[in-house]
Symmetry: C7
Subunit: 267 residues, 7 copies
């Protein structure tokens, strides 16, 4: 009986060792650039995570089966683990959520280092990406570390292409056709700028008279650019618009108000 148990234990340990070896070998093989393609940062992160998870599971199971086969009453161990699991499970849910969300963000390739993204209400350049959190550097140079459990929506400003959306408010007394022509002329001039012209990948997209606002008539147009170039193009276009509108006397209105002077009922 005892010898049978010892044999079982040895078999369990042997099986565990073999599985350990298999996991490690497979991960090393996958991460080895000599066999197949060079692994991306994404693959490295996910494989390292998978290996850690597999080995922790292996250790726990081996330990439990071994103790159990040795005839030790592992009831107390399991009970302790259960209570512990209960007590910690509630507190750790954010961590588990971090990792689950992180795995999917890596799988979906939702963002890469160098992208400008907006996550959890904060925007910036991605500086570092782990399976638990993302680190952003914003425009002021502030460094934000955001765990993925605080991330619902990932907004990537640099996927494939981008737009500069030009919503120009002009005064009600102006002619909209004249303003339209000015916006097209500004775009033509922008296309002659050697700095910005190569980053623009389409004609000016004209939408029309977007709304009749409180103090301004809003005209909308859009410029398609390379990803990440929308802000530079936008600022250059703003500058040209300002100059051309000034030259042609097209008013960009301040907030307006119409004043009536109150008088008594009798006049």
């Amino acid at each position: 009986n005892l010898s049978g148990r010892l044999v079982t234990v040895l078999l369990i340990l042997l099986a565990a060792a073999l599985i350990w070896l298999a996991i490690n070998s497979w991960v090393d093989y996958r991460l080895n650039p000599d066999y197949g393609s060079i692994p991306t940062a994404r693959e490295t992160t996910l494989l390292a995570l998978a290996r850690n998870a597999a080995i922790i599971a292996l250790i726990i199971l081996t330990l439990m089966f071994t103790l159990s086969e040795l005839g030790l009453n592992i009831g107390p161990l399991i009970a302790s683990a259960g209570v512990l699991g209960l007590a910690i499970g509630f507190g750790a849910q954010k961590l588990v959520q971090d990792i689950i969300t992180g795995v999917f963000i890596q799988f979906d390739n939702a963002m890469n280092v160098g992208d400008v993204v907006s996550v959890g209400g904060t925007s910036g350049v991605v500086e570092k990406l782990t399976v638990r959190s993302v680190s952003l550097r914003d425009l002021n140079g502030t460094y934000h570390i955001i765990p993925f459990s605080s991330v619902d929506m990932v907004s990537n400003f640099m996927r494939d292409f981008a737009y500069h959306l030009a919503d120009m408010g002009i005064a009600y007394r102006e002619d909209t056709d004249e303003a339209r022509k000015a916006m097209f002329d500004a775009f033509d001039e922008l296309m002659k700028d050697p700095e910005h012209s190569p980053t623009i990948i389409g004609e000016l997209e004209w939408f029309g008279l977007q709304s009749l606002g409180d103090s301004a008539v809003v005209l909308r147009a859009r410029i398609k650019t390379l990803p990440g170039k929308q802000w530079g193009v936008g600022r250059a276009y703003n500058g040209l618009i300002k100059r051309i509108f000034d030259e042609r006397g097209i008013e960009i209105p301040f907030p307006h108000r119409t004043i009536y002077l109150g008088e008594s009922k009798s006049g």
Copy 2:
């Protein structure tokens, strides 16, 4: 006894293999355009999900029954799984919710690639639709990945038909009938526009004097269009309204204020 166990194990494995085969065959048959209709993207997504779920369940059950029949004490395994389930269950609830909501969104056909929708406070064109998340491209070209657990209400702007709702504020001193006539004339002119006329699928729906606001009397009318054409039609209608109101001298008011000059009690 031992041989009986081995037979049981073999039977279990055989049953598992047969079930595996059956599931795979059925899914392949359903996805095969040669037998019946060509499967939609929706069907492909849902069948793939169902197959994965069924096969994971099959593997876990087969493993457990096999170990159990082999006489191994699977108590530790189950206990570990229980504690693990507890610890992970809390963190994974968002993922489960993602998938459950995703399945229902696919079933309800709530949105399709190419639709303009608003989910979780963000609007855009649907670029990609998985069982866990939806990817939107908004007007600025920003790419949003939104997990379904953040989605309560799906608002689809392109279901069957759409409306342009025209809420025109005119000054109190204007005649509402004259403004009404102007809005109908603008609609008539719009119907002569070869670009927009084919996308309009009904007469101008006249509501009337919607409200007596702070500075403006608001007139409401509505134009029925093909889905996705409401914005273009709206902008064209805005342009016509602006021109006709200018021609006829109907004022679109700035915010008004009546000023009284304060004076002492004695006058």
Copy 3:
């Protein structure tokens, strides 16, 4: 022993088949217009839901009792189900909540297809009503699918009758009795309108001087209408009020401000 078990299994299967038959027959009988009244859409939805729930429960129980009687150790099955239930229970709570709320909304007859309702902050006409969600079409033609778990309060604008509440702000310098008379005259004129008169089901309900506001004295009155007609009646009444107030020179005030010119202490 074995034969006893087989007999038990057969009895279990027989009992299950009988219960299945009973459930199906009863539901078919209830949904059959030949026996009793024609079932409403509500009854059809609820009976279908009840039948599905009953049959799923029946299958699970039959399976478990059968396996148990066959002497198979169903411990692993139950344990897996328990862990699964735990892991999924958290994520599925919204779905369960959807269905429970849906059942009660159907029972309470809280809304019907065609009603204008407001649920979860969104208003529109009910286009479709399932046991899990409601689909609304709003004024802009946007189609909203709202799961019931996002619905706390159901506000139905078309239950039995409706009101147009007229809160008219008039200038402080006006005589409130004159304005009151104008509002009654507008109502009399409205009652002569062949379009709106049949939808009004009561006299003008006069409340009085509701408040002394910042720039206006607010008079409140109310018109009782057929359900769904309150908006049309309200717009017609607004138009009449505007015309009569203009004719009689009763001012609907813009926001007022009293200006004092600052001066130094010495005057």
Copy 4:
């Protein structure tokens, strides 16, 4: 052994039948106006709820004990119920909360049909009161169904008595004693009104100079009325105040602003 079991089962069924009979008889007795007082709507609701709960519990227990005594292994049944309880418990918590809160609202007599209340941010007249929800009809005739789980605080505007709180803002240049006198005179006149006088159940409660605001000095007074009459009395009082203030030239101020003209440092 078998016969002993059958006897036990029979005894269980007999006990269950007796308990059922007892519950039903007691509830019927309590609801029977011939024996004791006529039951209120509240008692009817609560007794019906209690009877349903008791009978469901009775059926479940009888079923379980019977199956158990018959020697059937009810482990699967209990396990299924446990997993089901787990999966549903999360989703049904709102329903349980509805009913628990509903029972206490009935016990506390917090609102009755016909009361004007404010629950969960919505105000209106109570039209219907079940153990799960309250139905309100608001001023616009909209019908709101609010489950009790959305109800934290119940605000009842019609408990025992009510007040009209008059916060009158007068211009800084006015004499507060003169305004105080005007407010008392308006109250005296109100007490002569045969419509409102019977609903007023106390003298004008004078508080004094409540605050020195941005543009107005606020005087506060209060009128005690019968429950539900505070709005009518308030509007009548507003009308009288407006007339008397106009007659005596006491200014109710518009928002004020003091303007300084900017000048350069040198003057």
Copy 5:
């Protein structure tokens, strides 16, 4: 064996009866004014709650032990109770929280009937205090029933003493020392008022020039009063300040604005 069991059952029932007797006697003794001090409302509430809790626990335990000793398989009972506990536990958590918070509010003596308090965002006079909720009557006579689970912070306006905090804004052109003197003079006059003087329990506490605001210099002082008298004293002090400031020509400023007239670059 059977007789032993019966003896055990009898002993259990006897023990239960004795414990019941002991609990009841002790509570009656504590609530009996003949033995010791007269119990406060707080003691009565807490003791009644404790007795109910103890007796419910006693009944459940006695029932379970008795059934268990009688040889009945109470597994089904416990399982049902477990599933029930699970299903209800989620929904009832607000009720349990109500009672736990209620017990602590009673223990801490956080509020008494007649106090003016602010709980859960609502202020009013406490009219009724149970172990589950508090009932407030606000200034408008509205009656609010607030369960304690909605109560985080209890703010009691009538603990030991109170303050009227006087934040007086005066114009920038005024002399702060003159205004300070006026505020002290107003306090001296207030101390001569036979109505308010007895409720003031300290000198005017002078803080100084609190802030240099947009349009006003704010001076802060404070008057210590008996609890509940702070509002009356404050209104009286406001009245005196208004009169004295008017007499001495100290300006309480309206919102200020400095206006520059825009001109073109060339002047």
Copy 6:
């Protein structure tokens, strides 16, 4: 067997009595000022809490082991406790959280009676500190009882030292160097004030031109004071600034606005 059990029970009871004695003795020893230092209020609170927790645990364990050794089936007891624990655990989580947070606030010495703190959005002087809640008296004399579960961040205004932060807005037309000199002169004068000078523990810390605002240029400086003296010093400094700015004619600006008069396109 029976005698062995009785011996075991006696041993258990003896062990429990000894542990009880040990706990009590140790706590008494620690709280006894004769042996070692006088215990702080913090130590007293924490030791009393620890003793209560230890003794409750001791009683429960002793009871359970005793009953178990006496051969009573304590299954029902444990099951009841489990269901009870489940049902109450949800409701009591706020209480447990109160105590855990309270223990850490005591350990961290985060606040002491007499400190001015801000917790859960409410500021005031700490009047009482228990292991479950903190009682604050705010500036108006209102007494707030705040359970620690509502406390995330503790902000202590009286730790070691404090600052008065002076953000002075001056008009754009003023010279910033002149204003800087005035602020330093005001500080020099403040240092001559015998009341405030001893509470200032550093030179005026000059930051510079903080921002170019809408209507004002903001200059920032800071004064280091003893804890709790920052408000008095700040008010005195405000008074001096106001006087010196008035003397030297440095303008503290009202909100500015530049007005353009609208004209038609033609001029």
Copy 7:
């Protein structure tokens, strides 16, 4: 049998003692600067935490195995612990979350004592960092203790480098090129300042015309500085900009408004 048990117990105790010794030795060795590098504050915190966790686990397990081997029925102990774990687990989740988040913040080196950070909406200098909370001192000298469970995002203002972002609004009537030149001249002058020049680590980064706002044209530029120096550099740059703009007559605009005088329709 008994002696075998005693031997097992002794072995268990011996193993526990050895493990204890090993843990302590290893931690001491790691923290001993003689062997290897000097441990950072971070290492000290994490190792102390790990040691405490390991030793608590060791004590609990040793106790349980010992009792179990001694033949004592530890069922009651485990059951008590389970119910306790349940009851406390809910309340303690914030504490567990504090520690888990704290461990990761230490691992990620997200902040160090002396850094200026923003966590949970509060900004300040880190004064103390434990595994459960961070203590910040803000600009007013207020001391905030923030548990990590309230911390989602850590924003570190002092990572590697920082920026001063200069968003200058100039009047519409100004020439943007002139303003651009003024901003570069101000930067050149700043680089000659011996105090700030060494802290600037790059040229002025020019972005361009950021937006055409309501009253101002916004120009954006950025200065790269050493970490923590961005505020000082920014204030100095503000001062220079103000002086140069004043000298050159470039207007920093107040909010603008265009006023139209209302007139009747007839003119």
